[in-house]
């Protein structure tokens, strides 16, 4: 391990450029540590986004050496064997400035996928009893852990090809609600996630699953939606 990291950082908007910084290398240094060092010691004008620093909030995702990842829990030693880092804003999202992307479209697509829970009970009803070992609950054991970081969306080829595609995270969210016994909008949600911009556009490349920092499998969620929408279409319920 050498003493210095050579870090190329994206500066500006969509028509910006890379700027190179020398950053001292440390033990157990994360990519977010590197970005923070640049902003605090070398160039206070650098714009980037982070909050929790412990892999919970999903706000620090960036493209590192060409691959999207959460930077707070990505160690430099794992991604920069050659002492070079290239840090860019997430792909498939408009750049606001430097390393900050506009996440509106990403979250608007959650709404388009009917990602909002539609309750069937009121506060005066008893709590719903969900058996932890029941198949619908187990089907979403991992999927409900999504932190909305946008890594899967930035990694997805289909999003790059089709701007209307809802993307892995929104479809994964829909899958969790399809399996929620308390939810009352199954039919509308299946209709929303079907078709050319929905689950049927997925080519099962599995890049989302490979890149998800939470080790979730959006591809499996999308496959579940394909099965559910196909059954609904055959029954004439779509």
């Amino acid at each position: 391990m050498t003493a210095q990291l050579q870090v190329r950082v994206w500066r500006g908007g969509a028509d910006g450029h890379y700027q190179t910084y020398d950053v001292p290398r440390r033990d157990a240094q994360t990519v977010l540590d590197v970005v923070s060092f640049i902003q605090r010691r070398l160039d206070p004008t650098l714009a980037y986004r982070f909050a929790c620093r412990v892999g919970m909030c999903g706000s620090c995702a960036m493209s590192v050496n060409g691959r999207p990842c959460w930077t707070c829990r990505t160690h430099v030693s794992k991604v920069a064997p050659s002492d070079r880092l290239e840090i860019a804003p997430l792909a498939n999202l408009p750049i606001v400035r430097d390393l900050v992307t506009d996440m509106r479209e990403f979250f608007d697509k959650w709404a388009r996928a009917r990602g909002r829970f539609e309750p069937t009970r009121t506060r005066s009803d008893d709590l719903a009893r969900i058996e932890p070992a029941s198949p619908p609950r187990r089907a979403v054991d991992r999927a409900i852990e999504c932190i909305g970081c946008g890594v899967c969306y930035a990694a997805c080829d289909v999003v790059a090809w089709n701007a209307d595609y809802l993307g892995p995270a929104a479809l994964n969210r829909a899958w969790t609600l399809i399996n929620d016994a308390r939810d009352g909008a199954r039919r509308e949600r299946l209709s929303a996630v079907a078709g050319d911009a929905g689950c049927h556009a997925c080519h099962t490349h599995q890049t989302c699953t490979a890149r998800c920092p939470m080790h979730l499998a959006p591809t499996a969620s999308i496959a579940g939606l394909k099965r559910a929408t196909t059954i609904a279409a055959l029954r004439g319920e779509l």
Binding site: V158, W161, N162, S191, A192, A194, G195, D196, G198, H200, A201, K226, T229, T230, A233, L234, L238
Partner: protein, 112 residues
Amino acid sequence: MSNAAATRLWLAQRASAAVLALCVAVHLATMILAVRGGLSATEILNRTRGSSAWAAFYAVFVLSVSIHVPIGLRTVAGEWLAWRGRAADLTCLAVGIALLVLGALAIAAVTR
């Protein structure tokens, strides 16, 4: 196109792909066996002409191709050429009809 219609197209493409997997395997195996067995074109035509079994097999094959290809082309046109909408759909439909007609003519030529 509605999401329900797009879902049916997706389903039709998957179903036709499953049929094609079988048809292509039979077609290739038959071709290789016929050639390696030393059959001439005349001898092959003598076997296929008047055969309702071969006519039925290739009718299924051509029908599956005519369903599978235009749906796939529609996806390719949308993703690689950003060509979507009614004009793209109708063009792909025309390709499907052309494949169906050409395939039907080919079946008639070797089985009648």
